[in-house]
């Protein structure tokens, strides 16, 4: 061997040894472990999606390689119409939801309008209502035939036809936006709370009006949070199922998920076709995340929590305080109060009962008796709450680390990690459930028919939500804070615990609460994975809807889910406020160098 060769070999060897030593450092091992765990949880449903899409659907599972599923799925021109409807629905929902949520976030976090804590509590309350019930409630409110608001308007104004109809694209967008706008508020609120107002103040002092400052300074600073929220809302619209099923189908507006669900509802289900259709949602998801990362690649420009001192201030509305607050309250009443009132009212009658109009039967507590005596109801409550707490905790911790890796450790390739973490949102839950079932029946991991297979599915499903919350929050924190700590000798673990955690605590807690509520309501994946002794609330709701209950019983079940969730959320809200105060104190301490 020549000297040059020996030097090269020793150079390569030394590099490998250094790389190995680097990987084996505890910090890096921990980071790699997080990525591997999260990657595995996302990989399983993704791999199953690809596998079933590109192989022949034998009924017993995937067969030989084949493009037959794509031919089945895409060979009819009708698919173009489905795609168009889905895009309109998703874009409309994303924009409407963002506008409503941003309005609430701005009023609550940036103005001195009263009732802020009430609006926050109402926002959390809205998540407690399952999507299936919200859609049903809006039909009772705005159906041209049986909607009580239409009945009132017709009688007040002497109209021959109902003036409003939920059975339209506008109705579908409204039904989903009214359900999701609190999510937009929860994502944008913490960002607005910590916005550095010095740039705005400088502009105002220089003579700009607030209506000039808003589009030129405030909104650009909020761009990462807005885009992150829009991406999530858009994908939620694309993958929504309950609104298209209950409202879109009678309105003759079919979307992508209607077709996917139709394929899955055949007996035996056509998973190959459903997966081939799901690939389109996946591609849209990846493109959306890529565009988001491209538009926020100069992250430092958006950082609002820096090493320099600042104090968030609120805009003084003066005599507009109460009118603005009441306007927001009215929006909550219309978006949240109407369906909730309808559900509560309906829960006391067996058949259709229209508030303020009339009912077809007597007032009764029977529906509540029916639910409370339903054989597996209490077991399902316990299982659902346990699963929800575990999945929310795991998701928040995992995505906290993953977001940091994507944005700090490997920023150039971060969009890959972000996309991978986000992809489960593009997969209908029923496909994720089937994929997890298939994978864990093949693997020698004994989780089938236990609570753990449900937990695996839930964590896989909700990683995208955690990622959106945490990456949005992390974008607002300038990396100079961590760099200062590291230069001063702090290890990564200490940076996470003493710098990032206090600053991100409000965002992490908001994410935890949201994922907790989503998990309690989860249905699509659970239908495949429940077993003897592991029933959940979502599947009971579906049983009531499909073959066990009257309108009253279904509504009573919804109300019974909402009430304990309100109590849990109220407790978490108290905790959130404490965390928020500590976070603000930590932020102020970091800024003043104290």
């Amino acid at each position: 061997m020549s000297l040059a060769q020996a030097r090269m070999d020793s150079g390569v060897g030394a590099a490998l040894v250094r790389a190995g030593a680097l990987i084996l450092r505890p910090r890096n091992l921990a980071l790699i472990a997080c990525v591997v765990i999260a990657g595995w949880l996302v990989f399983v449903p993704l791999a199953a999606l690809f596998y079933t899409a590109f192989t022949e659907d034998t009924g017993f599972g995937p067969g030989p390689l084949s493009l037959g599923n794509f031919i089945n799925a895409y060979s009819n021109w009708h698919i173009v119409q489905l795609f168009g409807n889905s895009l309109v629905f998703a874009v409309g929902t994303a924009i409407a939801t963002l506008v409503m949520g941003a309005l609430v976030a701005f009023v609550v976090e940036r103005t001195d309008a009263p009732l802020g804590p009430l609006f926050h509590a109402l926002a959390l309350l809205s998540f407690a209502i399952p999507g299936l019930l919200t859609s049903m409630a809006w039909i009772f409110v705005l159906s041209p035939n049986i909607g009580w608001v239409n009945a009132l308007l017709k009688s007040w104004f002497g109209l021959a036809e109902a003036p409003l109809s939920i059975y339209s694209m506008g109705g579908m967008i409204w039904a989903l936006s009214s359900h999701y706008f609190p999510l937009a508020y929860l994502m944008l609120g913490p960002t607005l709370r910590v916005l550095d107002v010095r740039l705005e103040e400088a502009a105002l002092v220089s003579g700009a009006k607030y209506w000039q400052v808003l589009p030129k300074i405030t909104l650009p600073l909020l761009r990462p949070a807005i885009l992150s929220t829009l991406v999530l809302l858009f994908m939620l619209g694309m993958s929504s199922y309950e609104v298209p099923r209950l409202i879109g189908r009678p309105a003759r507006i079919d979307v992508f998920t209607t077709e996917i669900q139709a394929a899955v509802q055949n007996a035996p289900p056509e998973f190959g076709t459903a997966s081939a259709l799901g690939m389109t949602l996946l591609i849209i998801c990846v493109v959306a995340v890529f565009l988001y990362r491209q538009s926020t690649r100069n992250a430092e420009a958006f950082a609002t929590i820096t090493g320099k001192g600042y104090m968030p201030t609120r805009i003084k509305l003066r005599h507009w305080r109460w009118p603005v607050a009441l306007g927001i309250l009215f929006m909550f009443f219309v978006a949240l109060g109407l369906p909730l009132l309808t559900l509560v009212w309906q829960s006391f009658f067996r058949n259709l009962a229209q508030p303020f109009v009339g009912s077809t039967g007597p007032f009764t507590w029977e529906n509540y008796e029916f639910i409370l005596h339903y054989p597996i109801f209490l077991d399902a409550v316990k299982t659902s709450v346990s699963l929800a707490a575990m999945s929310a905790t795991i998701v928040v911790l995992l995505t906290f680390v993953m977001a940091w890796i994507a944005m700090r450790a490997v920023p150039k390739a971060g969009w890959v990690l972000d996309s991978i973490a986000f992809t489960p949102i593009a997969m209908p839950h029923v496909l994720v459930g089937a994929a997890v079932l298939f994978a864990y029946l093949m693997l020698p991991i004994p989780v089938y028919n236990t609570i753990w297979i449900l937990l695996i599915a839930y964590v896989s499903l909700y990683i995208p939500y955690g990622m959106r919350f945490t990456s949005s929050g992390l974008t607002q924190i300038h990396k100079e804070l961590e760099e200062s700590a590291e230069v001063s000798g702090a290890r990564t673990r200490q940076v996470f615990i003493w710098i990032l955690l206090p600053l991100l605590a409000p965002v992490l807690l908001a994410a935890w609460i949201y994922i907790f509520v989503l998990s309690v309501r989860e249905l699509g994946a659970s239908v495949f994975l429940i077993g003897p002794g592991t029933h959940v609330l979502g599947t009971i709701s579906l049983t009531m809807w499909e073959e066990g209950g009257s309108y009253g019983a279904v509504s009573a079940l919804g109300v019974l889910q909402i009430v304990p969730l309100i109590m849990i959320v109220a407790g978490l809200r108290w905790l959130e406020l404490r965390v928020q105060r500590r976070s603000e104190a930590a932020t102020a301490k970091v800024q003043t160098g104290g």
Partner: protein
């Protein structure tokens, strides 16, 4: 199904007592309880049931079984399509989780998944409710009939045939049908012949512009609430349940009345095969089928009366056609249904 109110339950109890159909008592003979099979099943100790029947009915039903045999039952409920998929994936994975399956889509399952077994109680079923290959047996009948809202449709507007129904243009856009009713379409074709049957279906679609709904119970509730004036087709017992709950809905029978079954079958790889066979025999027993009629499910046994006793009188005056499609046939007729009603 099965959400009878307090007054409804009182009425049912009165009817049951009047007909002398008292609930099974501990001392009553149980012809389905084969002592040899029972001993073997008790050694196995438990039974896992996959079923599409809601837990309120299903768990109550299997409490009777537990009380009679001492065998613990674990019950998992899901829709037919989910159960079918789950069982097929388990079969491929070599996993044997369930002992018996009870749902309406059993006839579409691959035969190798179901054990060939003829429960002794099956001899009380009509031939149409028994698989000639001895793999499944009908526990309750599902009849397909239209229904109307009595506040929106006058008695003289109720059609006497599907051809008459297609002329009800005053209800255009206010009539609905479930988007998965391929059995009903197949029944129409069997009765009228393919050309005429499909022509009638096309006329219904073109003239009435029916709304396609998802879920048969949801359709019953929608007709009962007045969202739709009429359903072209639905499951009779669901409409009856909604009616017994106080809604203004009435089902009526037209030629043909398509019939299929909620059936029971034993897993060919049942982890507890003796308990499975005993449970299958139980489900075909007079005791179980009388119990099931409390929830409005029409029995398959000829020696058990339906509840209410006159609920099938109108249906029995019509031509009843049993439609039991294989997976391939179901796919073909679903596609035809979509072409006619979804216009694709």
């Amino acid at each position: 199904m099965g959400f009878l109110g307090h007054s409804g339950r009182l009425t049912l109890a009165a009817v049951v007592l009047a007909l002398g159909l008292t609930p099974a008592a501990g001392e009553q003979a149980r012809p389905w309880l084969d002592p040899t099979l029972l001993a073997a099943a008790q050694k196995e100790g438990s039974l896992v049931v996959y079923s599409s029947t809601n837990e309120r009915e299903g768990l109550a039903m299997f409490k009777l079984f537990e009380a009679a045999t001492g065998i613990k039952v674990q019950y998992v409920r899901a829709a037919d399509s989910i159960l079918t998929s789950r069982m097929m994936i388990e079969f491929r994975g070599g996993k044997n989780s369930y002992d018996i399956v009870h749902m309406t889509a059993i006839n579409r399952m691959p035969p190798q998944m179901l054990a060939q077994y003829e429960p002794p109680e099956a001899k009380s079923l009509p031939a149409s409710a028994r698989d000639p290959d001895r793999r499944w047996y009908g526990v309750y009948a599902v009849y397909n009939t239209p229904a109307y809202n009595t506040k929106l449709v006058k008695p003289d507007e109720v059609p006497q045939s599907y051809e008459d129904m297609a002329k009800l243009k005053q209800f255009r856009g206010k009539i609905a049908i479930d988007g998965t009713d391929s059995e009903w379409l197949r029944g129409l074709v069997i009765h009228y012949g393919e050309q005429k049957g499909l022509a009638i279906a096309r006329a219904l679609a073109a003239n009435l512009d029916p709304v396609l709904t998802v879920g048969h119970l949801a359709l019953s509730r929608s007709v009962g609430s007045g969202e739709y004036a009429m359903s072209i087709n639905n499951y009779t017992n669901l409409d009856l349940n909604v009616k017994l709950g106080g809604a203004p809905i009435e089902s009526f029978a037209l030629d043909p009345v398509t019939q299929f079954f909620g059936s029971v079958a034993v897993n060919s790889r049942a982890p507890h095969p003796n308990a499975a066979r005993l449970a299958a025999n139980f489900m075909l027993s007079q005791e179980l089928q009388q119990f099931y009629t409390r929830f409005g499910r029409p029995p398959t046994r000829t020696d058990v009366k339906p509840n209410p006793p006159d609920s099938l009188d109108g249906i029995r005056k019509r031509k009843i056609i049993t439609v039991l499609m294989s997976g391939g046939e179901e796919k073909r007729w679903s596609s035809t249904f979509d072409q006619i009603f979804k216009r694709r």
